[in-house]
Symmetry: C2
Subunit: 221 residues, 2 copies
DNA sequence: TATATTTATTTGGTGTACCAAATTTTTATT
DNA sequence: AATAAAAATTTGGTACACCAAATAAATATA
């Protein structure tokens, strides 16, 4: 009855989009196959189909590129994924590191209207719980102006946007300090003698190393 | 990557469950195929697979029956479907007649945990927007005792449970009479000469047609 | 440049879930 | 019981999305 064409199609487009934007080298079949965790033969076959459908191009130099249509579709899938992540964290009380797999399922629900309603229900968020920007219905995103806390200026206030290291160990460590994306902090001091950081979090002062500060992305308030 | 086995499996079990409970005759392959809108050959093949997996039985008399395991699975799918329907109506502001297709998609999201959280988020509803009972996580349902007001007995007290017609026009009409789900009413009289109804709502007496009464579901107090 | 290595591509296959059409079996009707 | 009708079943197919292994082509290295 139902066809899941869109499911794998969306995965290909989304993955390709991520590879295109997060690396600057051209994406080849091997890279895409690795990212999708699929056999290169499978991927090549699918890439050809998607090329036929004008969602991407398999170029003469064998690099793979999204077309404008493909890019738009990819962004809409990313939009769905990130909105569902917000839903799972804000409404279902999941932790931000628990929601990826579920959002991976939910993103394939077919209804543009539902996505728009969800967007509204969540208060039109611009960033997901990981701090990644949520494209609007036209695929436009607000630039993420976050920088590592290690590059910030003492005395100023920031919102924690995002973490670079997302290992459980790091999350647990930050958890103890009450630091997580969305929280507001004040950088009190950079301590010269050991390069450590002194930060105010929820009226309390905490200390941590530069290594930690490098892994926390913040945005000035 | 993902397997959709569960998807069609859930559809077969759910549909069979509905056929088993809503009719009293035995379910045969033709009936199931018709209900699923699939070819009998397809259904027979699948029924055999599901019989192997001990989710249902293809009996010597060729009737098809859920096993206990199958019934439980069916009820959990129905639970998911109805909870998502509540979500769509209560949170996404869909009308109850718009949500079936979307819930059909959402019910296949695989996560028991999410379903339980959704249940809690929605306030552990016992009935979906159509008035159908929502099984709990063990598959147990509360019997739905609501009936159309048109079938009720004059002189008794009722709680309005639910509306069948939920068009704006109808809601507005009822609004003027102060009738909405949750409110207590007393059926004063069924007036023979024009089949109209006389009802006490919040100490006032109101009159309306049988058409209206048919669209109000109530439960005896 | 010759060779090794990596990448791309082809070939022949799988499982799932579906179908139409032909055949067999069962049930109903005369 | 004979026949008609309905239901069950078999047969031979399809599309989709995947794979492993073989081969070809491109790239890198000695």
């Amino acid at each position: 009855m139902a066809h899941f064409t869109h499911h794998s199609e969306e995965n290909y487009l989304k993955t390709l989009f991520k590879l295109e934007t997060r690396q600057d080298k051209k994406v080849n079949n091997t890279a895409l196959a690795k990212a999708l965790n699929l056999n290169p033969a499978t991927v090549l076959e699918m890439v050809r189909k998607l090329t036929e459908r004008k969602l991407l191009q398999l170029r003469p130099d064998k690099s793979i590129r999204l077309t404008e249509t493909g890019k738009k579709k990819a962004l809409l899938t990313i939009r769905k994924h990130r909105l569902w992540e917000v839903f799972l964290v804000e409404k279902m009380n999941y932790k931000w590191n628990e929601v990826h797999e579920l959002a991976e399922q939910l993103e394939h629900i077919e209804s543009d209207d539902l996505v728009d309603r969800l967007d509204k229900f969540l208060g039109n968020p611009s960033f997901d719980p990981h701090g990644d920007p949520i494209p609007d219905k036209n695929g436009k995103t607000k630039p993420n102006l976050s920088v590592p806390l290690s590059d910030c200026i003492a005395g100023k206030n920031y919102t924690v946007i995002n973490l670079i290291d997302t290992s459980d160990a790091f999350l647990q460590f930050l958890g103890k300090l009450n630091i997580l994306p969305g929280i507001k902090i004040k950088l009190l001091e950079k301590l010269e003698y050991d390069n450590s950081f002194s930060v105010e979090v929820q009226k309390k002062t905490v200390q941590f190393s530069e290594k930690v500060a490098k892994n926390i992305l913040v945005q000035a308030i």
